[in-house]
Amino acid sequence: MSVLEKISSVELGSRLKMARNAVRVTQEEAAAAIGVGRTTIVAIENGERQVRPSELAKLAELYRVSVNSLLRETAVHFDLVPQFRRSLSAREDQGASLEAANTLQKLVALSVELERLLGRKWNAISFPEYRILRSGWQERAEDLAAEIRQRLGIGSGPIANIFVLVESGLGVRLFIQRLPSKISGVFAYHDEIGACILLNSVHPVERRSWTCAHEMAHFLTNRYAADITWTEKHNHNLEERFADRFAAAFLMPSSVLRLRYSEISEESGKFSPKDLVFLAYSFNVSVEAMGRRLEQLGLLPEGTYDSLVRRGFSVKVANELFGLQASAAGNFIPRLTWLALEAYQRGLLTGGQVADMLGLDRISVRSLAESLLASELDDEVH
């Protein structure tokens, strides 16, 4: 029995449909590519007609996926995109939203597939869901941040690497990949898969840290509503404001920040822009985030940060003058990469499959394997 006879036509049809929708190809376009009528595509996608090898190869090319990814037995195909209905319908920029949702879905599916291939289990950690009340929501966000810090056993100091913390401490599947620049992050939750956060690799590490903390709040307060976080504030409803306040409180706890602010101010007699930059770096957050947090806590007058910027204050220039380096908080290798490299090392995946899964080119996969696996890649040739 051939592979195409063995695989369920309904399953393969559904995978083809998802792949077509992901690249927004119409059924008519797909039909034209393989020289059949639209009704044949409908029949293939409904599992009523078996796709032929030549048709499958052409459709995979059109949908920009590998035939291997469509047929792989361990491949996980589930649809997270409908959960983004609210985000997709709320904004004009549906293209970027759909791209982000599809990227998260692909990464989560690959992650689950690799776990199955390697016989690994994902240790999802049970966290209760907290309700947001309209009255006193700011204090509630501060309290929740403190509570989560306590549960994670991290005290109230600066967080060295929030990505590792979120992945291992909260059991969230975390991915960092290129997204449309106007999108900072994506969050979704699935009962079988757990919480998933995708951060934009194009953004600076401080912004990614902030987004990560922001998405954490969605996980803790309203996990069944998938969310896309935009760089510009749109539809700033209570949930979004709560998530921002939580992020600020989680990354910059008020008790420690007040203490550090007082120490600096007392030592130098005043709190200058250089102190602001220094404080931001010590908490692994952006200067803007630190400035606004100090305003939020009443340590700086409201509008101070905007006023500094208007007067020509530049973070970039300040960094150069102080000789400050980018923070090390970006040193994070997502678990997906580890799993893929382990499968490669064990000869369960080829370099081409790893490249396809991680969205990398082969040379990058070779470099990763060379540096992370070193001599363990020794192999027999003949």
Binding site: Q353, R362, R366, L377, V381, H382
Partner: protein, 210 residues
Amino acid sequence: MAELELVCADASALINILGSGVPEEILESIRGRIVVTNQVFREVKRCPFEGEKIFRPLIPLREGGFLEVVELDQASLEVFISLVGAVPPDDLDDGEASTIAYGVFHDGAVVVDERKGRRICRERFPQLRTICSLDLFRMYFERCGSNFERCRSALRSAIERTRMHIPHDYRVWTEAILAGSAVTEANAKVHGSKYSARSRTPERCHPIPK
């Protein structure tokens, strides 16, 4: 090993050849017909390689007749589907699967570097002649050996620019060449190394076709 009349290269091999900086010379030294499947050509051509200097010769190689891009026929397609759709971990990516499928039906040698791909070749198509990128480089050295420095620089370039993996069986030879040994000297080192006493002996490497 007889003269290679048809060589079907996987994406990994094609990348290594391009990384050498002298792809035309390497392909010419093979003498037989060199083909890559449409799947392999697409993989190497597509982003993020586009714009990379080392990949620029790809289209001219095809246009200049150094490299032929082939489509899988019906019979090859069946084998291709059976390889990409095999039960993991016996499934392959599209590039390797198409290369092997083409080689099986056209009586060619396939250039496959990956450990997994080579294992599947051995198990499913024991008659299929399977070589690796380093075999192509060794042919190049044999046939263009008069310009040793140029050959050596091509090998170094492939290792440095495209991170060409040196399989265990070829380490002694490669190290000898990079250290400046002549080809005959490097071959002698392979046969004289303590490594040859082990099961994965260089004797089992394909001899260079004359």
